[in-house]
């Protein structure tokens, strides 16, 4: 099964969008418009047609890019209005034929990416004051309504036709895979019984009842729709704290990287990131390099450095590498993470970012971006092992990668001559929380919540022994055993059932409180993953398989 014709590319620009239009004509009033106009013959694969504003990964990549660019490049924008350029249809959700003909792994990764994009939209609202409005000028079905659910407010055009719906259960025997059900009850606080009815009526609900049931915020006649949306967007923009954002934005140029075959694998190279794929061993090796320049001392210097500041560029490259791994190398089960550089420099850059982000919106955006990249690592369904050796620089923000890993191996040199150290920075104590709302240190010490706080005062490098005592390191083999210990651990892990590992890791990574975010990803990797592979959905006579075919699905009626 071929999921995509070429490696999926995640880099794009509004000039090259095929499916969205980023309209900034009202940017001076604080409003950006994102208008969906899917080109049906420009799907990532040619065996499906993106009819009726249905989407595939390529469409969502553009959306993610647009939201990201608004955050970095357009500080004047404080409200986004989502609408459709198509008559009568806002968005009919993920393309069903694309889903039906994609591998299971691709389907789930696709859902995961769209989940991340929706969460970024919510993050833009809660963290950056960029409010979003779903201006549903047509039917919003499935993923189309899930996009709306990710917005702050949902308005439905009243024209006798426009409705909101989640037809996945009744029509396809799967779940709305982008957090639809969770957002209904958790975010919009729709009554559970209403949500039950809504989620089983394929045609959805419109008009008064959609409002009564809180599925939308208001229903507005067609003739007043556009004006009302603009007016509301203006109100939201005026009330946004981002109105105080000073200073220009930062353009995001394309990343310069290479992607080459190497032996039985690939080598993907950026300035600060190298990802080596060994397809035979099903192991990938990630190397993250620390800063090679001084941190900015002021907001002006930061803007001068712009996207080439290590704190930006390294994390953009890391994000690109993680997405490449996720979509283009499905067989790789284990990611081994190393770093190279100077601890002190990482700490210095973290401190610079921390101090600037207190007063400058752009610095705050950069910190928020680092946080999103690290969260992307948290939800990566690969085993993550961090190896801390000579010359590594797992400090502060980079130490977070180690803390995101399932295991941390740190080489123990008894005489402390090789200089293997880790170090904490302000980045470990707040700005980079996980999806469960806790820092990675807090998540690590759930049994002893004070411990994370106690580490706050720990200045300076920590030896292997210190790090073991501090609870950062899982296993610390000594130098003589290191190579063998590590080799065996890797081989052992790579031989485990990928499903069992995905389930186990996802369960263990998110201890502590549940949030909307953890629920959405948890339910994706549990319920949706399971239902997607059940015969009732994807068997020879399953509903997803049979969709659009002349025969009707057949179900195995036993409840599991």
């Amino acid at each position: 099964m071929i999921d995509v014709m070429d490696p999926v590319a995640f880099e794009t620009h509004p000039d090259r969008y095929k499916h969205w239009k980023l309209d900034l004509t009202d940017a001076s009033s604080g409003i950006a418009r994102l208008i969906m106009d899917v080109q049906e013959d420009h799907g990532l694969r040619s065996d499906y047609v993106l009819k009726q504003n249905s989407y595939d990964l390529g469409v969502d990549v553009e959306l993610a890019d647009a939201v990201q660019r608004i955050r970095f490049e357009h500080p004047e924008v404080r409200a986004i209005v989502f609408s459709s350029a198509k008559d009568r249809i806002f968005c009919s959700g993920a393309n069903i034929y694309m889903l039906g003909s994609s591998s299971h792994a691709f389907k789930v990764n696709f859902c995961k990416f769209t989940n991340e994009t929706r969460l970024y939209l919510e993050d833009a609202s809660s963290e950056s004051g960029i409010k979003s409005i779903a201006a549903l000028n047509g039917v919003a079905a499935g993923g189309g309504y899930e996009l709306a659910l990710a917005c702050d407010e949902i308005y439905l055009q009243e024209d006798g036709n426009s409705a909101v719906s989640l037809p996945e259960c009744p029509l396809l025997a799967v779940l709305p895979g982008t957090g639809g059900l969770t957002r209904l009850v958790d975010k919009r606080k729709v009554r559970r019984d209403h949500a039950d009815v809504f989620s089983t009526v394929a045609e959805g609900i419109k008009g008064k009842r959609a409002k009564e049931w809180r599925l939308v915020d208001d229903v507005i006649p067609r003739s007043k729709f556009n004006d009302t949306m603009t007016k509301r967007a203006k109100e939201l923009a005026d009330a946004s704290p981002r109105a105080k954002a000073k200073g220009p934005g930062m353009p995001l140029p394309p990343l310069a990287g290479s992607r080459d075959r190497q032996g039985a694998g690939w080598i993907i190279n950026f300035k600060y990131i190298t990802l080596k794929i060994d397809e035979k061993k099903r192991v990938a090796e990630l190397e993250v390099r620390g800063p090679d320049h001084d941190p900015p001392k002021s907001a002006d210097e930061m803007r001068k450095l712009g996207p080439s500041w290590w704190a930006v560029q390294a994390f953009r490259e890391l994000d690109a590498a993680m997405l490449d791994l996720r979509f283009n190398f499905l067989d790789v089960g284990l990611l081994v993470i190393r770093s190279k550089g100077e601890l002190e420099k990482v700490v210095a850059h973290d401190k610079a970012l921390a101090s600037l982000s207190g007063s400058d919106w752009l610095a705050k955006e950069i910190a928020l971006f680092q946080r999103r990249v690290l969260k992307r690592i948290d939800v990566t369904s690969r085993s993550l092992f961090t190896l801390i050796e000579e010359g590594s620089c797992f400090a502060g923000s980079l130490l977070e990668i180690a803390l995101a890993s399932d295991r941390v191996y740190m080489k123990d040199d008894e005489d402390n001559e090789s200089g293997i150290r880790v170090q904490l920075s302000p980045a470990n104590f707040g700005p980079l929380p996980m999806g469960n709302g806790l820092t990675r240190l807090q998540s690590r010490f759930l049994f002893e919540p004070k411990r994370a706080e106690e580490l706050r005062g720990r200045e300076g490098p920590m030896t292997t022994q210190d790090a073991v005592k501090a609870g950062i390191v899982t296993i610390a083999p000594d130098a003589i055993d290191w190579d063998d210990e590590v080799r065996v651990a890797i081989e052992e892990r790579a031989a485990m059932s990928p499903d069992a590992m995905t389930g186990m890791e996802a369960s263990l990574r998110y201890g502590g409180p549940e949030t909307l975010e953890t629920k959405i990803f948890g339910r994706l990797s549990a319920w949706q993953n399971w239902i997607f592979t059940r015969p009732n959905a994807t068997g020879a006579k399953g509903a997803l398989t049979m969709y659009g075919k002349p025969e009707r699905p057949e179900f195995d009626w036993r409840r599991a």
Partner: protein
Amino acid sequence: MSDVVNDTKIPNNVDLSSDKKLQRALEAWQPNFINWWLEMGPEGFQQDQVWLRTAISVDSDGWAHFDYVKMPDYRWGIFLADKVPDRKIHFGDNIGQPVWNEVPGEHRNTLRRLIVTQGDTEPASVEQQRLLGQTCPSLYDLRNLFQVNVEEGRHLWAMVYLLHSYFGRDGREEAEALLQRRSGDPDKPRILGAFNAPCENWLSFFMFTYFTDRDGKYQLLALAESGFDPLSRTTRFMLTEEAHHMFVGESGVQRIIERTAQLMKQAGMSEDVRKLGGIDLPTIQKYLNLWYTLSLDLFGGEVSSNAASFFAAGLKGRAFEEKNYTEHTALNQSYTLDKYEAGKLSREEIALRNAMNEVLRDNYVEDSQRGLDKWNRVLEKEGIDFRFKLPSRRFHRHIGMWADVPVTPAGEIISREEFEKRKSEWLPTAEDEAYVKSLMTTPVYEKGKMANWIAPPARGIKGQPVDYEYVRHNV
């Protein structure tokens, strides 16, 4: 034969008085319907006595009852064709099982949608035609217009009966919504495109009743096969009414052509009959193109998973499914069509079930041609070379794979610019519309008299002469 019972406010042959709850619900809906009729029905004629037929029973003689009635007093009622004993579902996946007399839960939403979509067209056409009386070409035509209007009102009753009887609270809400939507209103339009298009002159009216009511005929034929027996019985009876609507259209267009032919002769076989106050043949062809293509859209997309599941479930069959087909599962069979997708044309075989819209559209296209043949015979007899043609079904489409593809009436794909440039040759222009309207500024209320642009009918209605006082207007 179940006679029409008049023991309730609502004439019916469904023993309404035995179901008090339903009776009360329908009696509660009735005044809203009347209000809608007074607001949106024929404007300016509500107090006139109109010579109308009213159903008194559902057999073929039941229609024999003609009398003067004020339209708001028309006995709108509920009539179902007689029950066929031991009827079985005869197509799809449930072949051989007894038909449903109650809505099967599994198909509730689908059925409701089918019924609401059909039901919405009925009041829509009344709304579209509400001002036409004020420009009528004769009392004969005025009466035909009103006959069509009251029967569309009755078709609304038929669908509302199903909604009230079988769909609970949802059904009652939908029945109410059928009275809330308005044809052409951007805020609350009718569901289907053709039923929001303006129908503001009599040429459009005749084309509408010829082409758009014919879509109704085929939808009803397909629903008459339904395994949901109340729907089947309701639509079977509606079909008897629909036949008259199409007659009004076919004969209306024919009489315009006859008159145009006469005027052409008067003008020395010149095509320029506008000078003599007639409607020239090319303009008639343009209106034909418009209403035919708007009606083609009503059948839905060429490849449709909805259509396939309607058929599979036994909810909507093919026209004359029982009579005209021997194989009724429609499985393992294919339908070949020209597929136009992403700018490429290819010949493709698709599963027959997914092509059910197209199968029905085929029947419709064939049936539509018959009237054109008759109209062309008029031209032939008069020695006129012009012939009416159905445009390609790719032309001027808004639904399906040909939606908004620039295509000529001959079916040729052309550039958008060329289409825009030549559109005025194929579809009525504002100028055509203004001209046709200019012919119809004054209504003709004099017994037996005809407007200049239309020939008289060959005979009157139900044995009455053409100059009968079919409508007592303002007397």
